[in-house]
Symmetry: C2
Subunit: 228 residues, 2 copies
DNA sequence: AATCACCGTTGTGTATACAAGATAGGCAAT
DNA sequence: ATTGCCTATCTTGTATACACAACGGTGATT
């Protein structure tokens, strides 16, 4: 998996470790409730405890793990309700991006946005959800940046990143791709038109739907697990 | 060296160090551009470099300092524009809290909110800005919690905390306290009435004003510094 | 005299060693 | 037999030691 060659060592090791551990958390290698033993991680990655500790501290301050004094680090049990809360906030952040973007977007950014949108269209027509998923990220990123609020861009990007695994679950929901694209269409039009309220509303709805889809999925899984 | 007695040692030292350093950053003891030497900080606080490093990493992941590989940690020059961006996001987060609170607040929370509001009123009548400042924090916290979105509460609280020093600057602006209270009054009414859109708008305006006040203040200082 | 290269110093990044607290297991007493 | 206490061990938290990279200074060469 991770060959030592691909590690440039030009950056801090703890930072790279943080990304690796984060990867393992969001991909489910370290499922919620897992106790992260420092020595164990150090052995796993072939480094000493110091960089591991630094990585854990960083992850904890981002909220990805919890560190209790003298009791170690654990992957928190992110309840489905918590994820829904996060989607709710995400919806509002995106709405804000849209509202600002509609007012502040530059001609160049308009072109970039439309280009990203057309790329999504191509992926939809080709019926390639994985590609669409990637291009969708670009599309949203374009909107973030068009808000011309650097802090907002950072916040939105961070939360988007944290929600990535849960969003990925919805990839193969029936017609999700086509529906998503249509929503994108309305969003782009609102932003280009400069209708900030409409853009905000469209984006809020667009993301809220994702949260609801997630809730549906969880409910389905719960019923399934209950063996109904 | 600080006396060991005042350190409870019940928590991680790096965490306490983080708060101390944060304190010194926001209070201007370490002004923007300052280079934070690890050994120097270690000597200052009478600890070794390890906890200092951990504290710095945590502060960096929160965005309070910047760490460049092999080049140490520095207090970033937080441009006034950046702070304004943060106020802009804060306004939206608070608006979201208000919108949700108007829909979800419980009778008990209504009472708590009104109580906090009346406490602010008392501070205003007593003309005690410091007290008002503290009670104002409680007031806003009550609204956060009434949103019934734990993640949102965390985000709003964190950002509120980061903006604290800049908000504090406005304490003694003329009539700010009275104006603030009047805005609070409208906010409470909107929430109690259950008018989510109105509550959101009121809160957004309430916080946006703070951002604008800050911008004014910065502009004034800049002119003053320019020696006009 | 100016520029480049080499060396020394300074400070970060990592590893290891040490101390303290927490947990778990066993033993004893009721 | 059960419960409470004590101890042993394991893990975290902190300190120290070492390695390496970057910056600055000085000297030699062009």
């Amino acid at each position: 998996m991770n060959s030592p060659a691909e590690i440039p060592a030009t950056t801090r090791q703890s930072e790279r470790l943080g990304e690796l551990i984060e990867e393992r958390i969001v991909t489910g290698v370290y499922p919620p409730g897992t106790r992260l033993d420092e020595q164990e991680l150090a052995d796993t990655f072939g480094v000493s405890r110091t960089p591991v500790r630094e990585a854990l501290i960083q992850l904890s301050s981002v909220g990805l793990i919890e560190i209790k004094p003298r009791r170690g680090a654990t992957v928190p049990e992110v309840g489905a309700d918590r994820v829904c809360e996060m989607f709710e906030v995400m919806a509002e952040l995106e709405a804000m991006c849209g509202r600002l973007a509609a007012r502040r977007i530059t001609p160049g950014e308009q072109l970039a946005l439309q280009e990203a949108h057309r790329a999504c269209e191509a992926a939809r027509d080709a019926n390639t959800p994985d590609i669409y998923y990637q291009l969708n990220e670009v599309f949203h990123q374009r909107i973030y940046e068009a808000s011309h609020n650097g802090f907002l861009v950072e916040q939105a990007t961070a939360l988007h990143r944290r929600l990535r695994p849960y969003r990925r679950l919805q990839l193969r929901v029936r017609n999700r791709m086509a529906t998503s694209f249509n929503e994108h269409q309305a969003i782009v039009e609102a932003i280009i038109k400069g209708d900030s309220d409409l853009a905000a509303a469209q984006l809020r709805a667009h993301v809220t739907v994702q949260g609801e889809r997630f809730a549906d999925l969880v409910a389905t899984l719960r019923d399934f697990k209950a063996g109904a």
